[in-house]
């Protein structure tokens, strides 16, 4: 091990073939599993250290947002269309899926900038930073899921057997979000504009996607919805859990979105791998 020679020169990777790039990425991720976990732990626990309620805050945020929409819905300000089930349940599952995507993407895109001078002082796997930043969103997703199960019990409704497919629905959300995070994290470390624009774009996307309202029946929103992969990941995933049904067109859409997410993940990961060394010199 002590005899392995590493060489650094300009545009180091250009001579490497794609096969060896994938191999490198795989080995790097495997080798850095523990580091990734440590980085996640660091950010997760450090975030709640100097607060009285500590980790309980992870519960408060989703409760508040669902609460807000219940109030809006009850007062008739906000019409959700036909959903055929208790709105709180509908909203919390939708929000859980959406947040998995959006908060992961937001923190992932910011992961390198947040790490700051660590990047220029220590040589370590930067992929771990991006991956670790997803830890918190996964934890809050699980908490929201538990909340949802509690609501199922409260309304005395049984979740559809489709809930067993949950992993299949979560994976593409994560892949899409991670793939985009890799790309945005890279760009954000050079141009901070990305980090500034992203939260706005995400809010806009959230209202464009039927997260808190039912699938639009007509109009331009319907068209957009049909080609919106997030619709399949959030809304259709939710119907799978709640009613256990998906029409064939929707299964097709879901399938293509799945492939798209996988593609974006791979592209993002490879781009990140090829250019991560460029970050430290410009951040």
């Amino acid at each position: 091990m002590s005899n392995s020679i590493v060489t650094y020169k300009p545009d180091n990777f250009i001579e490497k073939g794609y096969v060896s790039i994938f191999r490198e990425i795989f080995l790097e991720l495997k080798e850095n599993r523990w580091l990734t976990f440590q980085l996640f732990q660091r950010d997760f626990f450090a975030g709640y250290k100097q607060s009285f309620f500590g980790i309980c805050w992870t519960l408060v945020t989703p409760l508040m947002s669902v609460g807000t929409f219940i109030v809006l819905n009850k007062s008739g300000v906000f019409s959700v269309g036909e959903i055929g089930m208790p709105y709180p349940l509908y909203a919390i599952i939708g929000i859980a899926f959406w947040n998995l995507f959006s908060s992961g993407l937001a923190s992932g895109s910011d992961a390198l900038v947040r790490a700051g001078n660590m990047l220029t002082k220590i040589n370590f796997s930067k992929k771990s930073l991006v991956l670790a930043s997803f830890g918190s969103s996964i934890v809050s997703f699980l908490i929201q899921l538990i909340l949802a199960l509690a609501l199922f019990a409260y309304y005395k409704i049984l979740p559809a057997p489709g809930i067993l497919f949950l992993p299949i629905v979560i994976v593409p959300i994560l892949l899409l979000s991670l793939g985009l995070s890799f790309i945005f994290a890279l760009l954000n470390s050079i141009m901070r504009d990305i980090g500034k624009a992203l939260p706005m774009v995400l809010t806009f996307l959230m209202f464009l996607t039927p997260v808190l309202y039912g699938k639009p029946k007509a109009g331009i929103l319907l068209h957009i919805t049909q080609y919106n992969p997030l619709y399949y990941f959030v809304s259709e995933a939710r119907s799978l859990v709640l009613t256990g049904t998906m029409t064939t067109t929707e299964i097709k859409g879901f399938f293509f979105s799945w492939l798209g997410a996988l593609g974006i993940f791979i592209v993002g990961l490879v781009l990140f791998h090829l250019t991560e060394k460029r970050i430290a010199e410009r951040i």
Binding site: M1, Y8, L39, K121, N123, F124
Partner: protein, 413 residues
């Protein structure tokens, strides 16, 4: 690469951009080209770019301790970052054998909210250690850091010294093949510094290569065998540490003495009688100098114009350091008599075979008086700057000539 070479650096350069907007643009261009698997043509400068490290080559053997010196902004850290693989060079090639651990900043990667104990694990992980490895070395790490009860308080309450202690403790316990240390130890107290250097010596003997960046000449002399002296990103010198640090100090002193202008010679006293001209300091070969290594030969050349005939003029050259220490050469104390009605331009040479003033910056006054020191004729008060540097092979600020003898008094059998 030869088996006994740990680091081989061949003509590497690194450019930086002065303008942040352009830097963004160039960054995007480089990334874009790299994504398309094209060369970024890094070997050429674009507008507003400059070489921060310029065509540096050297080789470090296994188990060698290598120093990196140079003024601020000369590219030392950039060079370390490239050796560490944090970014690529823009020209040239670096080959590194084995695992590197770097201490480029104090506790980089420490989270201020987490306790020392938690940070040991996180930092260890970032530096490439596994859980079992840290578990195994944990006791040794806290033992070395020696921060007592602070181990379980958040790192943000640490003093900067404790920060370094913990950071260094983790880094040296990585058992690297190569350890890069960038001037971080200066923050620790003397005790801890000694401990670190001892530890570095110890791991060096076990075959670890060490690169040390420091401004402390003593450290370079004591703990490194060879060094690279960088100036403006370029190699000024590479070779033995003794020579390198000597050259570095000489350069600094030269610049410093050139920067200080000679003050306006003080107010006139009796300049109608006689007048001093600016003093000159000469070395053994008669070359004018502004600095000198303590203990070397110094010749002071003082020119003076006598407008009137004086009976017994007294000349003086005084050196003051910033603590008020004064050293005087006065002709009356040296029992030098110049009686004999001098008139016209006169040159006084004062020969000092060994100028043993301690290393420091001195301000120098020249003075001429008539018969007794109170009767000032002309006085250039602290008008000249003179720098004394430390003698070679000296630990303190002066090196006096010594003779050593060892004698058996009573033999024990």
């Amino acid at each position: 690469m030869n088996q006994d070479v740990a680091i081989e650096v061949q003509g590497i350069s690194k450019k930086y951009c002065r303008s942040i907007k352009r830097s963004m643009l160039y960054g995007m261009m480089d990334i874009g080209r790299n994504i398309c698997r094209l060369s970024s043509y890094s070997g050429t400068l674009r507008s507003k770019e400059f070489w921060a490290v310029d065509n540096i080559s050297f080789e470090i053997k296994r188990g060698e301790s290598f120093g990196l010196i140079g003024p601020n902004g000369s590219g030392k850290t950039t060079l370390l970052q490239m050796i560490n693989g944090i970014f690529w060079p823009d020209k040239g090639k670096i080959a590194v054998r084995g695992k590197i651990s770097a201490l480029i900043a104090v506790g980089a990667g420490f989270h201020p909210m987490l306790t020392g104990r938690e940070n040991i694990y996180v930092n260890g992980a970032i530096l490439g250690m596994g859980k079992k490895e840290i578990d195994r070395k944990f006791e040794a790490i806290i033992d070395f850091a020696d921060i007592g009860d602070f181990l379980d308080s958040p790192v943000k309450h640490y003093s900067s010294g404790m920060y370094v202690r913990l950071g260094f403790a983790v880094a040296v316990h990585c058992e690297p093949n190569i350890l890069l240390v960038d001037e971080v130890l200066a923050v620790g107290d003397k005790d801890f510094q000694m401990k670190c250097y001892q530890r570095m010596n110890q791991i060096r003997k076990q075959g670890t290569t060490i690169i040390l960046v420091t401004h402390n000449e003593y450290t370079i002399r004591e703990y490194t065998t060879r060094c690279l002296y960088l100036s403006d990103g370029k190699e000024r010198f590479v070779g033995s540490s003794e020579e390198g640090i000597g050259l570095y100090i000489k350069d600094i002193l030269e610049q410093r003495s050139q920067r200080t202008k000679i003050k306006d010679p003080g107010k006139s006293y009796n300049r109608n009688k006689a007048e001093l001209l600016p003093v000159k300091f000469l070395d053994r070969n008669g070359q004018e100098i502004h600095f000198l290594e303590s203990g070397q030969e110094l010749n002071i050349q003082l020119d003076c114009i006598f407008h009137e005939r004086l009976n017994n003029p007294i000349f003086g050259v005084n050196f003051y350091n910033n603590l008020g220490f004064m050293y005087c050469v006065n002709s009356d104390y040296e029992n030098q008599n110049f009686n004999g009605n001098i008139r016209g331009k006169v040159r006084i040479n004062i020969h000092i075979p060994h100028f043993y003033l301690p290393a420091s910056n001195y301000l120098c006054s020249t003075v001429i008086a008539d018969e007794s020191p109170e009767n000032l004729i002309d006085w250039h008060n602290m008008a000249y700057k003179f720098v004394v540097g430390r003698a070679q092979n000296a630990r303190g600020s002066i090196k006096l000539p010594t003779q050593w003898e060892i004698k058996m008094i009573e033999e024990e059998i």
